[in-house]
Symmetry: none
Subunit: 425 residues, 2 copies
């Protein structure tokens, strides 16, 4: 099956926004065995959108298009697709009612232009959008080479991703039933570079048994193995290939499938009945934010104190003035006091702390930008380590939060985190 991915939006062709939707779609399509022949990006002009569709229809059995489904005058996808396909636009009353209800529920009068989102090309099958007002749709369009399955989704990534996972990929699975299947399994890793990971797993899976691909979405790197086989064999082959990789990856793998580091940490904490409190300086709340992104995290997250000044480190966390004076705020000694202090303050099983220089200013020759210290305090032991990280402010924050969360994971697994988290540029 040959697919073309179309992305629309002036923000893409003017360079304001990186087109991550096309990348995400390509990744997901390749995962189910679809060959992405090309990706086309055009701005919000009817003739350019029409051009992209005509061009794609020459090449593809499957088109997935994102963007241009909103209520405003520059949302042109639906009417353009209808024109290219030679279909009328038809108002779907159920969708129109839902949009009216959404406005009524918040006590507002609906601007009339919202009803545009209830218009679809005749023959289209609606793809509901649980997270926004604009539904997508599917449509089969006759082409010179037969016919092409077309899917139109909103450009808002979270809406697009949910609709893809819950509705489009299952439909695509049905469509492709009986043909050889592609099935894949993903491992999430941290603490090892992409090239070192490549070396680590080299030869684990024969090319004939599966294709291994890496995807760096820093700070984690995911590794995916894809098996291509008849439906009756595919599951067993995937299990075998995944087992070989799992063995090689060892502790670098913090989760399988689409899990996140914070979810992996949360599962370990919940399972052991442990609770955590965080004291953050350079990460500024990011660790707390990540921990509390996990549903049910109130079972183990007690508190997070962002102590952005020395005064707060002293008054709230009880870091001794002498420690601050002697070693400076960015030191293992202060990180340890912060971890102990926050644990004492709220009575948690674990106290986790970060302090560092996220930049762009504040660096010195002894402690350049990117110097960070992580500490973890739990019954009977306080551990800390200094790291020299790199990159921009947001990157230093993100990487520090990832290291700190990995410390909790390693500690819960009974390992010494100061030894395991070796970072390579």
């Amino acid at each position: 099956m040959r697919a073309v991915v179309i992305s629309t939006g002036d923000e893409l062709t003017t360079g304001r926004t990186v087109d991550t939707n096309a990348n995400y779609l390509a990744d997901q399509l390749v995962g189910v065995g679809v060959d992405v022949v090309s990706m086309l990006v055009v701005g919000d002009y009817p003739e350019r959108i029409a051009w992209a569709w005509r061009t794609a229809l020459e090449q593809a059995d499957l088109i997935i298009c994102t963007g241009g489904l909103g209520p405003t005058a520059d949302d042109l996808t639906t009417e353009t697709v209808a024109r290219v396909a030679g279909r009328e636009l038809v108002m779907d009353t159920a969708v129109a009612d839902r949009i009216r209800q959404m406005f009524a529920a918040i006590g507002r009068i609906m601007p009339e232009n919202n009803l545009k989102q209830a218009l679809f090309p005749s023959g289209a099958i609606i793809v509901p959008n649980a997270l926004g007002t604009a539904p997508g749709f599917r449509l089969e369009i006759a082409t010179a080479h037969g016919s092409c399955h077309c899917v139109v989704l909103p450009g808002v990534p979270r809406e697009m991703k949910a609709m893809l996972a819950e509705q489009v990929l299952p439909w695509l699975g049905e469509l492709r039933r009986g043909s050889d299947e592609y099935r894949s399994h993903t491992f999430q890793t941290f603490g090892i570079s992409e090239s070192a990971l490549d070396e680590l797993v080299a030869g684990a899976v024969d090319a004939a048994d599966g294709r291994v691909a890496f995807r760096a979405a820093f700070p984690q790197i995911s590794l995916r193995v894809t098996v291509h086989a008849p439906p009756r064999d595919v599951e067993a082959r995937l299990t075998a290939a995944a087992a070989k990789l799992r063995e090689r990856l060892g502790g670098y793998c913090y989760g399988e499938g689409n899990t996140t580091m914070e979810a992996a940490v949360g599962e370990l904490l919940a399972r052991s009945g442990a609770t955590i409190a965080v004291a953050e300086s350079c990460t500024g709340g990011l660790i707390g934010h990540r921990l509390t992104d996990v549903p049910g995290s109130s079972a183990y997250v007690l508190a997070d104190v962002v102590a952005y000044t020395n005064a707060v480190k002293q008054s709230v966390l009880g870091v001794p003035a002498a420690t601050l004076e002697q070693h400076g705020a960015v030191s293992c000694e202060v990180a340890e006091e912060m971890a102990r202090g926050v644990r004492r303050l709220v009575g948690s099983t674990i106290g986790l702390a970060t302090t560092g220089i996220a930049g762009p200013d504040g660096g010195t020759p002894e402690k350049p930008v990117g110097t960070v210290c992580v500490a973890l305090d739990s019954a009977g032991a306080t551990r800390s380590r200094r790291y020299q990280l790199w990159g921009t402010r947001d990157w230093v924050k993100l990487l520090t939060s990832q290291i700190a969360l990995d410390w909790v994971r390693r500690t819960q697994l009974g390992e010494d985190p100061t030894e395991s988290a070796i970072l390579k540029r």
Copy 2:
């Protein structure tokens, strides 16, 4: 001038790598007034690369293509372009000598396939590559509509960027001297839906005077006006169009250009010499994280206490047990106590607090998921308001953080935030 950007590489069409080159090129081209008509991405197959070039030549006066210039078998761009353009491949002896010298300089024998990088279509003008072995080239190709200027650059971002800045953009500036320019201005808004924003600015700028586009990157929505005019008029016309929009947008606009809400808030705090402390419950650290993403935020962020349990709300923030019992943790009364408590704890000018039910669990008929309370305490006044938000856990957190930051902004501007931040789906 109409441009098409072509990116080649299997890593792009399989979703392994996000195509940041096309984004970068589009941004740079728009900056010098070139209209990017489309962006095409294809994998490393000769027929697909040829297809992309033929397709681009139908549309463009300018093609910029990246990728496929290396020494290996899957580097196919140069030979494919030569074939599409009907040119012979010619060895450039100066380039061949340089490649030989680069290998000699590091004491290695040059694999013969490296000489492939010294082959160019006849008539091409070489674009030297100071940072790598593969030079790029320029070529003018005759088309049905006249001729097309073509530029081929390596896919390695740092090489591509240096060659673009030092050689391609200056050449392009010469080529376009005196022709019309595109210039744009962006407004960032919050507290108004995309459709209501569309109505608010409708008719403010005539189609002939500028093109208005919306982009929802929730929770903010940006609006951009683009003016297309001769070089001598473009600045004045943009200023005039932006002024009309600014007047319509009023307080919904929190910043212009690429600013964020947290940067806008930070600028106001820094300017007035105010300091802030945050007490978060449902947002779990996100407000602190966002505030501290701004370089220099240590000048006004004192602390953030994430009080995820009632015990911590009492012991650290001093919320009275009676208030918690009587009104529940998710209430305006508790939010106000949290705001006062954190302000008192660290002595900040402003205390900001959130409490709510982010979901997916924890809702009740009286306080369903999405119920959140925001409070702000400053000298002489404590204000609070309850909101009924919607969506998933991460969305409730994000939207609450945006409302809370907008409260700080509105307060710093002397407005009553409880009246102004009216949210629409």
